[in-house]
């Protein structure tokens, strides 16, 4: 097949999945929060199982006025949602969905994932700066400090897995978990990774960048309609891909549970990912938001040393063995 046609098909497929994923996750978040907090609205509204509510939301967002704040830095303001969405879509390139099902088996898959997601920050800063609004700018700066601080433990916590595998290719990392999932030898790495990834996703208890009680909505205060939807879609897509990376690195990727190997690998991959996504939603509706100094303390004084110690201990064990 023509490589350009293949590339186009991949992009269209990923975009379709990203939109469907946002649709499902918005519905799931409403329902789960409804059950956890006894919210009447999400439990009763919206036709069969509340599914129509998501559809109504999409129609509303597309029909809404695309409001431009006065004095906005137009170029930055227009481009920001796209800059935030592109990395969210790009990371699907390296996710190992099945035994031989990966869009592009890059030899540097893990580094690619980290480097592409680090670009999200630029989109957030463009939104905060371009909106010409102090809440937006404060939210963007908080997001910057937070993403920057938690990226270091996030990346360090994956080093242990890379040392055990000897490869940065995500398919090889999954292949190396044939005997035992890496969550067993790398339990510390997994816990650090999961906490840091929740912070990277700007979700409660780490949603200081959009803390409603302080900053209205943070960096996308001024956005409405379809541009706001692009930010929301990117956030839900990031929730999925970060959980998928955790599954790939620590929970055996597409590897099935024993005795259930007749179910195909991609089903396992998606299933495990959505279990982790559920844990993320669960944490969001259970824990209150932390303060900014607690956030920085947790990142720099706890997660960072722990992840460095994890790398050292892994290296020691590998050297002794």
């Amino acid at each position: 097949m023509n490589i350009y046609l293949a590339a186009l098909l991949k992009v269209v497929g990923v975009l379709a999945f990203v939109l469907g994923n946002a649709f499902i996750l918005i519905w799931a978040e409403r329902k789960i929060s409804g059950y956890m907090q006894r919210r009447y609205g999400p439990l009763r509204v919206g036709g069969p199982a509340g599914l129509l509510q998501s559809a109504a939301d999409i129609l509303k967002l597309m029909a809404k006025e695309d409001f431009v704040p006065g004095g906005a830095d137009l170029w930055l303001w227009w481009l920001a949602p796209a800059v935030a969405l592109v990395p969210a879509v790009l990371v699907y390139l390296v996710l190992p969905i099945g035994r031989s099902f990966v869009l592009q088996n890059l030899s540097i898959g893990l580094v690619f994932f980290a480097s592409v997601t680090s670009f999200t920050l630029i989109g957030i800063f463009m939104a905060g700066w371009g909106s010409n609004n102090k809440y937006s700018l404060l939210g963007a700066m908080r997001a910057g400090a937070q993403l920057f601080s938690y990226e270091i433990p996030l990346i360090l916590s994956t080093i242990g897995v890379v040392m055990l595998t000897g490869s940065l290719t995500l398919q090889r990392i999954v292949a190396a978990q044939a005997n035992v999932w890496f969550v067993v030898p790398q339990i510390v790495g997994f816990l650090v990774f999961y906490v840091a990834s929740l912070a990277e996703l700007n979700r409660t208890p780490f949603d200081l960048a959009e803390a409603e009680s302080e900053l209205i909505a943070g960096y996308f205060t001024e956005y409405s309609g379809i541009r706001w939807a692009m930010f929301a879609v990117a956030e839900y897509s990031n929730l999925f891909t970060t959980s998928a990376l955790a599954v790939t690195l620590f929970l055996g990727g597409w590897r099935p549970l024993p005795l259930l190997a007749f179910i195909p690998g991609w089903v396992w991959f998606v299933l495990k990912t959505y279990v982790l996504v559920f844990v993320g939603i669960w944490i969001r509706w259970t824990l209150p938001r932390v303060r900014i100094d607690q956030l920085m303390d947790l990142g720099w004084k706890f997660l960072f040393p722990v992840s460095v110690a994890n790398v050292l201990v892994t290296a020691l064990v590998l050297a002794v063995r």
Binding site: V111, A114, S115, L121, I122, M141, A145
Partner: protein, 177 residues
């Protein structure tokens, strides 16, 4: 024109245009964001050369980490639009956008580079070298074996710069809180 040529043209155009805008943007925030675009363009060129590890690190460290630090530096400093205080002949000579000195300098530099390229190009091997199958391993081997000492010296230099920055910005008697 084939696919890689088109990609090269787009990336080179992006890199050059945003590098030019870094120097000419009146707002320092815009300059910083154009710098990020320049880094991204260079990363794309690395990808095109099949140096995938370098490209990813370029994005991770320059477009990600360095840009964050630059943005924080801007936010912590006093911001105002840079208004050229040069008027008249000085502006005509020195303004980065339409001044004579930057124009002559830029064109001269490009001419030197192009002529050097034309002189050297015939002696370059025409058959491209095969790209390293695992460039990560190759780079790691080079960094930690052949060039281990320069690598360590560079890290000591960076440490010294960091300590220097802390000493320079520390207020008398230590910062509060």
């Amino acid at each position: 024109m084939n696919g890689p040529m088109v990609a090269f043209a787009c990336l080179a155009g992006l890199t050059l245009y945003s590098a030019w805008r870094v120097a000419t943007a009146p707002q320092v925030t815009h300059a910083a964001l154009f710098l990020a675009a320049t880094f991204a363009g260079v990363a794309g060129l690395f990808f095109l050369l099949q140096a995938d590890f370098l490209a990813a690190v370029q994005l991770l460290l320059y477009a990600g980490a360095v840009m964050t630090v630059v943005i924080f530096a801007i936010m912590l400093s006093e911001m105002r639009e840079v208004e050229s205080d040069a008027r008249g002949w000085r502006s005509l000579l020195l303004s980065p956008r339409l001044g004579i000195v930057p124009l002559v300098g830029g064109v001269g530099l490009a001419a030197i580079l192009l002529s050097a390229y034309h002189r050297a190009a015939p002696s370059w091997p025409l058959s491209p070298l095969p790209a390293a199958p695992d460039s990560t391993r190759f780079i790691a081997h080079a960094l930690f074996h052949a060039y281990a000492l320069p690598f360590e010296v560079a890290s000591v230099l960076l440490l010294a710069a960091m300590i220097g920055a802390i000493i320079l910005t520390r207020t008398e008697g230590g910062a509060k809180g």
